[in-house]
Each structure stands twice: as C-alpha cells, then as structure tokens.
C-alpha cells in the first residue's frame, strides 16, 4: 500500500490537489471521496483520511482531492459552483481510473460532498456505487444552515445578527457573500438553494448506501425517503445509522472516528456480509 500527494489538472487546466491511496494487488473497486463544504471539510478532514487508509489496508484504492477554490487547489472559493464541483469530481474519477485501472467506481461523499456525489452520479455513467454519508438533500435548508452559522457567529461575538433578508440583499448587491471567512458567489448560493435530491426521478441505477445520524429522527426519515426514491431499478439500496456527527467536531482533538461506518461501508462494498446487512 502506498500513498502520495500530488497535483493534477482538471478539464479547465486548473491545478487540483489530490492524495491517492494505492494498493499492491489489483482491485475491482476504487473510491473517490467527495469532501464536505466549508468548515465541515476541515473538521472531517482527518476522518476521511483515516477512511481512505482503512480502505487501502483492505485492498481498496482511493483518491481524495480538493475541488477548485478549496484546500490546496487553485482558484478562489468565489469561483466555485455546484457545476464546478461536479466537473472536478468527474475529472477525479478519470484520474482514479487512469491510475488504478479499477472497473467499479464508488463515490463516497459526506454531507454536501454526498450531495455532489449524487449529482455527479446523475451526470457520469462511470459511477457504479454511491455511499452518501448524512447527505444534504434539500439545498434550501442547507443554505439556511450556512446563514445560521453566520448569525450565531455574530451572537457569539455579542452582536445582533443580521436577518436572512439582509444577507439576501448583500448577495444581490455584491454578487457574493462571506461564509465562514470565504466568499461564496451569488450563482453558487442560488444553485445550492435549488438542489432537491428527492424532487426528480434519479437516472442513477447503481448500488446506493445512505447513512443518517441515529439521534436525528428527521435525518433518518429523510434517509428512508432517499431509499424509496432510488429504489426502483437499483440493485441494492440500504441505509444505516451513525452514532456521532463527526463532521462537526474537531476529530483531531476529539479522537472520534466512525469505525462502525467504515466497517459497514467496507462490508457493503465488498459484499462480504450483504445478506446480514440487508436484514
């Protein structure tokens, strides 16, 4: 097993940072990780790194990467759009296939990364399986969550928070809005709010695994709806529960890693124990 960091060019010639985890023997399955957005990406960074290593120790190669405008990749976040995230993911799939020769491509996405993974699967037929870890299903709710972060940051600083309508005016006026110390464009904001994974019949017909936080009954309800939504024509669709929201804690310090989710995902991907998992 070997791993290395490097840069690759996306379809627009922009340099994206990537980290590949290779394995010694040939593998049928290869994984591309789709990271969360913003602060959640930082908080879950170590979890996804551990997940990639967990898989490579078990013979599954993977690729983690930073989309344009994030992490170590070229570009600014203000240039990021939902379309650019999907395109970068497609380009990452091409890279994975070229470097590992895997036949089956799995996208593992967390939170908004899971949303991007699902959208990518709609556009790219090379995606065979999807693992959506606590996916954002409705962009409008997620956008409200992001604005809420700004509002509560103001309160924490002992200042009155701006209203949502004021942020909307700022977006209209400036064409961008500061979210978690970076600028998000009006186009990106609008695209996020238009996302509703439960609205259209999905064209993706591969295998699907969805997870939801056990203590969040609404998330569990929505996960079940995702399953229903994708069930027709899919070979296997399943959901399971997570114990902790590991994307909202600094896992480096908290030392919580969702090993049960790693185990479950691995077993599901390799079919080692699918009969038991489906029960």
């Amino acid at each position: 097993m070997s791993e290395q960091a490097f840069f690759f060019s996306n379809r627009n010639g922009e340099r994206l940072f990537a980290f590949e985890h290779l394995v010694e023997s040939a593998s049928d399955i290869g994984v591309v990780f789709c990271a969360p957005f913003g602060e959640e990406k930082s908080r879950a960074y170590r979890v996804l790194a551990k997940f990639a290593r967990y898989l490579s120790e078990r013979g599954i190669p993977s690729l983690r990467f930073d989309s344009k405008g994030s992490g170590d990749s070229e570009g600014d976040m203000v240039d990021m759009t939902v379309d650019s995230l999907v395109e970068d993911t497609c380009d990452a799939i091409s890279l994975l296939k070229a470097r590992t020769k895997v036949k089956r491509v799995v996208l593992i996405g967390l939170r908004f990364g899971a949303t991007v993974a699902a959208l990518t699967a709609e556009r790219d037929e090379r995606v065979n399986s999807l693992v959506l870890l606590s996916p954002i299903l409705r962009g409008a709710h997620y956008w409200r969550e992001l604005l809420r972060m700004k509002q509560f940051a103001s309160i924490w600083l002992q200042q009155a928070a701006k209203k949502s309508s004021e942020y909307k005016q700022i977006l209209e006026r400036d064409g961008r809005l500061e979210i978690e110390a970076q600028f998000v464009s009006k186009v990106f904001a609008e695209q996020i709010q238009q996302i509703n994974l439960l609205k259209q019949t999905p064209s993706f017909k591969g295998d699907l695994l969805v997870t939801a936080l056990a203590k969040d009954s609404l998330a569990c309800e929505l996960a079940a709806k995702v399953i229903e939504h994708y069930a027709e024509g899919n070979s296997q669709v399943l959901w399971t529960e997570e114990e902790r929201d590991y994307w909202s804690v600094l896992s480096l310090f908290d030392q919580y890693h969702p090993i049960p989710t790693f185990d479950y995902t691995y077993q599901w991907l390799t079919g080692d124990d699918r009969a038991a998992l489906s029960a």
Binding site: M149, I155, Q158, A160, D216, S248, V249
Partner: protein
C-alpha cells in the same frame, strides 16, 4: 421559564456540546458565551435541536445576544415560543 425546558437545554449542553466534560448540570445563570461553554457552532446545534424537539422556529428577530447569555435566558426564549 419552563423548568423542564431548562433541564433539556442543560442536558444537551453537557452531553452534546461539552461531550460529557461535566458530570453535573450547569448553573442556569452561568454566562455561556463569556465562559466559552458555547461557541457559534454549539449555539447553532443547541437551537437546531430545540427547534426540532419543540417544533418551533427561532425567528431572525430573536437572534440577539441577550436571548442566549445563559440557560435561563435560552429557556425563557424557548418557553415563550412553545406556548
């Protein structure tokens, strides 16, 4: 202030925000923001939880620091919205 709501808030902060760092409930007048018990993320998690639990919405008009200084003030806000 609804005592039960105050207990729920206390429990949530101790177990979900402080991750069990305290084995005792907090003083309901402890200044949560000043003492660093709640940061912006913790505050958001708490309010999102309370909105879900009591099926309420904390409107933008209530997003002022004085409503979130202590367990007591938060409980008073939520109690008012629940009624």
């Amino acid at each position: 202030m609804n005592e039960e709501i105050a207990k729920v808030i206390n429990q949530f902060i101790v177990t979900e925000v402080m991750h069990g760092a305290s084995d005792q409930p907090l003083d309901i007048d402890l200044p949560l923001l000043d003492e660093g018990i709640l940061d912006s993320l913790g505050l958001q998690q708490l309010i999102t939880f309370l909105e879900g639990k009591y099926d309420i919405m904390v409107d933008d008009d209530y997003l002022m620091p004085e409503y979130f200084t202590s367990i007591r003030t938060i409980a008073e806000l939520i109690s008012g919205l629940v009624e």
